[in-house]
Every structure is written in C-alpha cells, then in structure tokens.
Subunit: 404 residues, 2 copies
C-alpha cells in the first residue's frame, strides 16, 4: 500500500500541520465525574474547530499494544511501526540529544558493579546519582577518546545510565549485548549477529570498550564497569520529501522527537519551550515548509505523573495559544497524540488516541467538542496511526485518484 | 483470507442483490443545514428497510485513497483492489464499450501534432472535436485494419482521445508507452518491459501502428500522429462462479461497469436506462441467477457536477423504483456505493461510503434512516469494500463455519 500511496502524491501549495500532544488520550476519571482531561479542559478554540472537523481515533501499533515514543511517532509520520525498526540504542541517543550521522552505531549503556572475579554484583551500580554518572562519563571520555579508528561519543543520562555512540568507518548494529541482563554472571563478550565484517568490527570495539572502561574505572566504587545493550545503527528511512513530496519541519522542545523527525527527513527548527513558542516559530518559517510537525510534551509528562489537573492545564495552554497557529492559515490541521498516557495509569497505554482533522473537505462531524467520547462517534472511525498521513495528504488535495 | 473464504462457500437457493449507487457517499453541505444528499432525499422505501437493516461504512481501497471506478468496483466484487491490477488501457476499453477477449491488449491513445522533425508540439492536437476524432479513427481503421497477424480495433472517444485494441495471437501488456508524456520530444519507440516474445511482438506492433498512423495522417492538420499509453492485457480474474459458487448477473447502463463485471465472470444482462428498468430486468431473470449487481450511474454524475439537488433526485428515483426489486424477494439486499463523490468536491473522494445490508439475520440496527451519519453508528462498523462480499454471503447463509 505504501508504494501505491507514494505513487499518487501530488504537489500543491497547501500547508499541513500535525500537532501532537504527547500521550493525549486518557481514561474517564471516576473522581472527575467520569471525565477525561480533554473533556475537563476549557478549550474554546478547539471547541470552535470541532464542529467543522472530522473526528476519530488512531491506533498507534495494533490493538492492545502500548507503544513507546519511537513507534508512536514513526507511525504518525506514516511509517509502519513494526516494519520500521529503530534500535533502542538509536532512540536513546536521539533522546539524549546526540546527533546521529549515517554509519553511527549507538548503544544504551550503564555503569555496574563487578566483583574481583568479574561477576556482575549490581547491574545498576547502586543507582548512582546523575552527577556521579556525569563525572564517570567524563573520566571515560578522557581515557578512551577512540578505539582503533572509531571515535567514542558518550553522553551521561539519569542515574547509572549513559549513551555510547561509535563513529567510524565500517560499523554495523547487528551486535549482541555486552550485558548479562542479570546479576551473578560475568559481562559477556559482544559478538556479531551477522556474518559481516562490519558487525565483527563493531563487536570488537564494544568488547575493547567494556574491557578498557573496566580498567579505567578500576579504582571507582561502586561503579567499576560498564554494560552495553541495544546496539543499533542509524536507520536509513526514506524521508518526507522523497515519500510525500513535502518540505517538512519539526518543532519539538525535546531531543528525542527532534531526532525521530530528523530520521523522517524533517528539518528541525528551533521550537522554544511552550506551545506558543512553537506556533510562533512555525508561523515565522511558514513559507519554507509544507508540513509542520509540532510536538507538545507536557500532556505525556502530566499523564506519567498521574496528574489530571496538570494535563488539563497543558491542554488549556495549547488551546490558548492556538489562534497564533490558526492565523497562519493551515489548509489542514490535525490534532492528536502519539499514544495515550492515562493519568490513572501513570504511563503509556494501548488505548486508541482521539484525532481531529480539520480542513475544507474533511466532512464536518458537527460534534460539539473534541475529546475521547466524541471521537468514538467521529466520521474518521478508527485508523491505524500509520494511515493518518494518507488522510492528511488527501485532505490537502495532495493525492491523485487511484486507478481509472 | 481469500482462500479461507472461498473454502467455506456453500450453495443454497438464496438471492443476493448488490445495488451500487455510484459515488453515493457525500459530505454535509453547509448550504443545506449540514445535510448530505442521502439525508435530504425523500426515501420512504429505504426508510422502511433501514430499521431492519445493518448499517456501516465501507473503505474502498485504504484510508485517504480516492479510488477510480475500476478499483472501486473490483473491491465491491470481493477482489483486493491493490493486488488485482486492471490496466488503464483495459479500463478505457471497457469504458468505451469494447468487448475484451482473452489475449487482447488495450491502449489509451490520442491524436497529437508533430512537426517536420517528428517532435511532438501538441500532445492533444489542439483538442480536436469529437467528430473530427471519429473521422480520423475511421481513416485509420480503413488504412490499418491489421499489422502482421494482429487486428486493430479502434474506438473514438471524446476530443483527441481514442482506444486501440490489438487482437491476435501471442500479445502481452508489458510494453512501455509510445508517448513522451510532454511536448518538445519525439514519440519514443515502445519496448518490451519483460524479456518475453509476446511483449516484444506487442511493442513491434505498437511501433508499426504509430509509424503507419503518422503516414496515413500525414496530410491532416493539426492531428498528424498518434500516441499510445497504458498498454495492458485483459486480466484473468477468477470469477464469481468459481470463487463464490454464484451465478452472477450484472445490470448496468454504462459500459465500463458492465466490463468490470464481465472480468469478474458475471453475465451481463440488458439493463435499460433507469433504476426502474434495471430492477424490472433483474426480476425478469430472477430464476437464472443467484447474485445481481445493479449499477446506478446518476449519483456519481450529479456529484461530479456538484449538483446536490440532482443527486437527491437520483436517490429519490431509485427509492421510488425499489418496490419492484423488493417484490422479487431478495434474501439479502445491499445498498452502497463504489466510492464517495461529494457534490462540494465535484469528484471522487477518499471518504468511506455508507452501506446498508438487509436480510433475515443482518441484526437490525433499529436506525430511523440510511445515510452517512446513521452509518457511522451502524453495527457493521467500517469494512474494507473487498470484505463486503463475505458479509453478503454470510447473510445469505452461503458460508460454512470456519473450523470446528
């Protein structure tokens, strides 16, 4: 179907906005008269759009599947989130704000504790503080700037976690973990998962790194060794320009979303911190792009915190800023989320996500408001998230007829 | 799934009617209090069926994809509209009322203008009148009745367009266009797209035809050459008798729909001009068939014209004629469209199409009427058009249980 879709793409001067409120979908809260944050929020500007919009729900991956942010966004961007694999190391690196170049291999890494025999006694090195992690990452960077012709780029994360990027010629992501995944075992040697010189070289570099890191950390306690897992190369995705003939821009305050957008071939623009900042930034670069992906993180964070009121406030702040975006006159505006993050669950969930598509030929549903319940009766029905792009292109008049 | 479905097919004496109102689906019209033509139409007979019917919506190809009539009907007939490719030339030939035999290769063709050096200066020969086109087609028919052992069957179309059918032994559709697709270039030689004697022979015939046609037209102005594109062979589809154990009949006033039905192995019956004619014709041949595909073109034409009132009138005329069809006592009656043709869009669209399935075990939705909004809440949900046939067979008791 992807090939058919791409063969139908037309160019025209329309502008499409995909406004993603991360983790937007929620569940009725018994403490709030069965309302969801989207229902409880005062959203006068969305309320003005809703009657003229088509509503529905999107399913990020498949029924019952709770997506991470990577698959959630890849699907919104029109990639099959199952076929399009972006490795854990790569997602972690993008989330850490590392810029990935073609050929880079990324890994999730962490400090651990090993005993004199080399047996892992604590995979998380006593959950050291982030400051300690940063100090140790600095130590490793000075001790191990490169191995063979491969440069090591490290970035400290929270607690015991860090990201390691291998940058050099002839590397590959098909390498097993240098991580026993449980205590009481030695750190295993990484090995090539493909009979491939690049994978063998990468395994050799990983093993050299874990060995030399343990030497460099020898005097440290409790973090005296490292583990690496999720090794993966920057994937080559066919981008928005090639697939959809769209000059796409991404406005996102958090690195991971900028990173995934970059994988999809979007230009990353400075977005500021708030929705109002992002809307102003999009409007300022309106002429240069045909498609604007705008990411709002606060809804997901509030959901993860189980904070109904905070989620309501983020939604209200996006709504309050909306007139600036509408003033730029998008031809098609889509408001949705990458997944649900219900406040009562304090985490991502599998529930379909409400979606609003507004445009000249969207087919107005005449609903009063945009929220989970209204979305259930909407004319868009339930779509796979990966099919949403086709609907947005169609609404923008950017798809030719299929067949005579 | 197709193999599973077909393995379950049973035979029984039931009669199924698939009544297709071409382009039935529409959008709420702001000038008509947000109603669609189906809502605005007075449809007392459909209104009597609706409470006892199951409603829903069908998606012809995929979300966002606007189908042509070919894919729209193939899907309704239970073929995957992406996997089942019917070439552009074949659809054009069917639409022109040419009867395709197994082995025929069809092409879309048009008259063009070339200068003394053979460069195309106008791909449409100044958009000559249809009468002029008919005269020139007659001239070519007399000058070029056959090339080698291949007979040429030509049929004039609108303006500069015509259809060319190659009929003879050992031909194939895998041949490139003899059309530069833009002005300022010479007419390219067609060539085989498969290393296959039949494709090579077909390319040779096409090239001989374009060369000899240019000679025959040498003295004409502005139409002094021809272009050919979309070469394709009549596909071999497994038909209704083989797939569904149904003796299927098609009643359609327009050639293209008769043609696609014929590809699906239906018997084409004389249908007359109006819905009333078609219903009477079906009733007259009731005993000879198990399945009746009845096609009404007017809804699509009104939609293409942007004429809301005309679409309402066509729907009302179908409704007024319905008692004659119901008097024949179909066991299952399905009313739907091959795609939406919203009047405000003056063309086909991607919007799902309302569908009504009436039968003894359809599961009455108890809705008041049949229209786009009621269909959104219907018990059939959203189906892929290609899956509708299974639902009709099931309602007719013509599908066995799957597994013990």
């Amino acid at each position: 179907m992807t090939a058919v879709l791409e063969s139908l793409v037309l160019e025209n001067p329309t502008k499409i906005v995909l406004l993603v409120l991360d983790g937007l979908g929620d569940l009725p809260s018994p403490e709030r008269a069965g309302q969801t944050p989207l229902e409880a929020a005062r959203t006068p500007h969305l309320d003005r759009l809703a009657p003229h919009a088509a509503l529905g729900r999107i399913q990020p991956v498949a029924p019952g599947i709770t997506p991470g942010s990577g698959p959630g966004h890849l699907a919104l961007f029109g990639y099959d989130p199952v076929e399009t694999s972006v490795g854990r190391g790569v997602l972690e690196a993008l989330g850490a704000g590392l810029e990935l170049q073609q050929g880079d291999v990324a890994a999730r890494a962490n400090f651990c504790t090993v005993d004199a025999s080399g047996t892992v006694t604590d995979r998380r090195a006593g959950r050291i503080a982030s400051e300690e992690c940063a100090r140790l990452v600095g130590l490793l960077e000075r001790a191990l700037p490169r191995i063979e012709d491969v440069r090591l780029v490290l970035k400290a994360g929270k607690g015991h976690r860090f990201v390691a990027l291998l940058r050099g010629p002839g590397l590959a992501g098909e390498v097993s973990d240098a991580d026993p995944h449980h205590e009481g075992a030695k750190v295993p040697q990484a090995h090539a998962l493909a009979s491939d010189l690049a994978a063998e070289k990468t395994a050799r570099i990983v093993n050299a790194f874990t060995a030399k890191a343990a030497e460099a950390l020898g005097a440290e306690r409790p973090a005296n060794a490292v583990l690496m897992r999720g090794l993966s190369a920057r994937p080559h995705l066919r981008g928005y320009r090639e697939r959809f003939k769209l000059r796409a821009a991404a406005l996102a305050a958090y690195p991971m979303y900028r990173g995934v957008a970059q994988l999809a071939g979007m230009d990353v623009l400075p977005a500021g911190e708030t929705a109002a900042d992002a809307f102003a930034a999009a409007a300022a670069r309106w002429a240069d792009h045909d498609f604007f992906f705008i990411h709002v993180k606060g809804t997901d964070m509030a959901g993860e915190d189980g904070d109904f009121d905070a989620k309501v406030r983020v939604i209200e702040s996006v709504d309050a800023a909306l007139p600036a975006l509408l003033a730029a006159k998008p031809d098609v505006l889509c408001v949705t989320g990458d997944h649900s993050t219900p406040a009562p669950m304090r985490g991502h969930s599998w529930h379909p996500v409400p979606v609003l598509v507004w445009g000249r030929y969207c087919g107005a549903d005449h609903g009063a408001r945009f929220h989970e319940k209204a979305a259930r009766a909407g004319s868009l029905g339930v779509l796979a998230s990966k099919d949403l792009m086709a609907v947005l292109l169609a609404n923008a008049g950017r798809l030719d007829k299929y067949g005579a």
